[in-house]
């Protein structure tokens, strides 16, 4: 058994950069390369794609990513794990095989983990479940519901890891579980070894946003400088059997791994650090210690865990009306006053058209679009951008809002320019908790013959 497992992060979100993943695949000497590509509502959008074409609904960058890393990973025995299956993991698995055939790698086998799609189960028996952060039940959203996907845990990936597949494709899985699973598989951690599982979640949490721990989303010139940022490397962890780990990156890549970058990522999107709820364990980060061992090497110890809960979180995608938006710029002396006049005019015209009841935003970008009225400046800005956005029930109403802003050209203050307008359907996310025993998972193995 390898005493240290080397796991790398090949993507931290659906649109992430590909060259750093190639660099990791080639030089990271990895056992596993994990691509985390599913945001909260990505599956709902993918489900809409699948409903138009049953061969779609998986990550649109899957083919490009596989083409870029498969040869190195196959040559070095690095296994790939990814949630790029999105709303159609099985078809994603076939797409991986198609890339392998195209690259002349017919020996590739893919394991597909399914069972996260619980829409049918919930439709039958879950409509009374309360929606989190809301007074509604799932039944109240039923007519608008697009998707319901349980966050699977690492346990669901173990059968795939026990197979000889080099690529493992999933739909919705808790992000850290994509990293915890190979650790459980390799070190033989029991599913109730809460301390080890907590440490594994910690490693996963630190890696799952890729460059956000190697100097990405960190630089602040003069305060937090990051070297060679244009060529930011992606991170890898060297994990010991105890679950303690060193976070690092490949030599020569850009960016930095420091206690400061690791602390920012450790607390990123964390609420109570002592209770980070995950499908496999309630992880405890409250006593974590970070130590700089050398350049771009940070040791992570002190992670822990507590028994898991009886429920799995399910993310729901539902239709929630449309947002109509328009923007227009004003510059030069009096820019802010003319921008404000533009907003006042659009507000009045929309009220006259019966839109006063809808939730809206009337911002001056450059003045108050981010923090509302909390910032004041004695200096008038050289330019401002007026922005109006309303959430309305229909596409037609959203178009009316956008047009009303554009019409400022001929009907608004002097000197407005650069109008843009947009209309988009709101696919909102919400969540329920469901009993974990109601979620059945299964694994399908595919080989080059496509079955």
């Amino acid at each position: 058994m390898k005493t240290t497992l080397r796991i790398g992060a090949g993507a931290g979100y659906a649109g992430d950069r590909i060259p750093p993943a190639v660099e990791l695949a080639e030089k990271g000497q990895l056992h596993y390369l994990v691509f985390e590509c599913l945001a909260e509502r990505t599956i709902a959008l993918a489900q809409l794609e699948r409903s138009k074409d049953q061969d779609e609904g998986f990550d649109p960058m899957l083919v490009a990513r596989m083409r870029a890393v498969l040869p190195s990973c196959l040559a070095q025995g690095t296994r790939i794990i990814s949630n790029m299956g999105a709303a159609n993991p099985l078809q994603a698995g076939h797409a991986v095989l198609a890339v392998a055939r195209e690259l002349g790698l017919p020996q590739v086998k893919v394991a597909v983990v399914m069972g996260d799609d619980v829409l049918a189960t919930l439709t039958q028996s879950g409509m009374a479940l309360p929606v989190l952060e809301s007074t509604q039940t799932l039944g109240d959203l039923q007519a608008q519901l697009i998707s319901a996907n349980a966050y699977l845990g690492a346990e669901a990936l173990l059968p795939a890891l026990q197979s000889d597949a080099q690529v493992i494709i999933t739909g919705r899985v808790a992000d850290p579980a994509l990293f915890l699973a190979p650790l459980m598989h390799h070190f033989g951690w029991a599913p109730d070894d809460w301390q080890s599982l907590g440490k594994g979640v910690l490693v996963g949490h630190l890696l799952e946003c890729a460059a956000q721990i190697t100097g990405g989303y960190f630089a602040d010139p003069g305060y937090k400088d990051v070297p060679n940022m244009a060529r930011l490397g992606f991170p890898l962890a060297e994990v010991s059997a105890s679950g303690d780990a060193v976070i690092t990156k490949v030599a020569g890549s850009g960016g930095c791994v420091t206690v400061a970058t690791c602390t920012e990522q450790l607390l990123y999107e964390i609420e109570n650090p002592a209770r980070y709820l995950q499908p496999d364990v309630v992880a405890d980060f409250s006593q974590v210690q970070l130590t700089q061992l050398g350049p771009d090497r940070v040791e992570v110890t002190g992670g822990s865990g507590h028994p898991r809960t009886d429920t799995l979180k399910v993310t729901l995608g539902y239709r929630d009306g449309f947002i109509g938006e328009g923007q227009m710029s004003y510059a030069g002396p009096g820019a802010q006053a003319r921008g404000q006049l533009a907003l006042d005019l659009v507000r009045q015209r929309l009220a006259d058209a019966g839109y006063g009841e809808f939730e809206g935003r009337y911002d001056l970008i450059g003045v108050n679009a981010i923090f509302g009225q909390t910032t004041t400046s004695p200096h008038e800005p050289a330019e401002v951008r007026a922005r109006v956005a309303l959430r309305v029930p229909t596409q037609q109403q959203a178009q009316h809002v956008a047009h009303e802003v554009e019409a400022l050209y001929l009907n608004g203050p002097a000197g407005g320019g650069g109008a843009t307008r947009s209309v988009r359907e709101v696919i909102a996310a919400a969540a329920v908790l469901m009993p974990r025993e109601s979620v059945d998972t299964n694994t399908v193995l595919l080989n080059a013959e496509g079955h």
């Binding site: 909260e40 509502r41 989190l132 952060e133 989303y217 602040d220 305060y223 937090k224 400061a260 602390t263 920012e264 990522q265 450790l266 607390l267 990123y268 999107e269 964390i270 609420e271 109570n272 650090p273 002592a274 409250s286 006593q287 974590v288 210690q289 970070l290 002190g302 929630d320 947002i323 939730e359 809206g360 935003r361 911002d363 970008i365 679009a369 981010i370 923090f371 509302g372 009225q373 909390t374 910032t375 922005r387 956005a389 309303l390 959430r391 709101v426 696919i427 909102a428 996310a429 969540a431």
Partner: protein, 100 residues
Amino acid sequence: MLLRDIAHTRTGDKGNRSTLSVIAYDKNDFALLEQHLSAERVQAHFAGTVHGPVERYALPQLGALNFVMHNALGGGVTRSLALDAHGKCLSAHLLAFVIE
């Protein structure tokens, strides 16, 4: 002195909540953070944007505070009408907090 001189920050989003970490560059300054950055003062700094309540967690061994700001993201990232729906910019705004 501004918070920016002694600490760095990062925000994340969870539903309609914004999580905000504040990390001392030098762990010796952690006591200053604990003393000045109460949950109430942080909420007041974001008046008009964060409707609260705000909770605070301390990780002294990391020189860090972690804030959970409720009702902070205009109904949540997926529904928000805000330009910065994730509240990513909130972290930078806290750096202007004055420590006297």
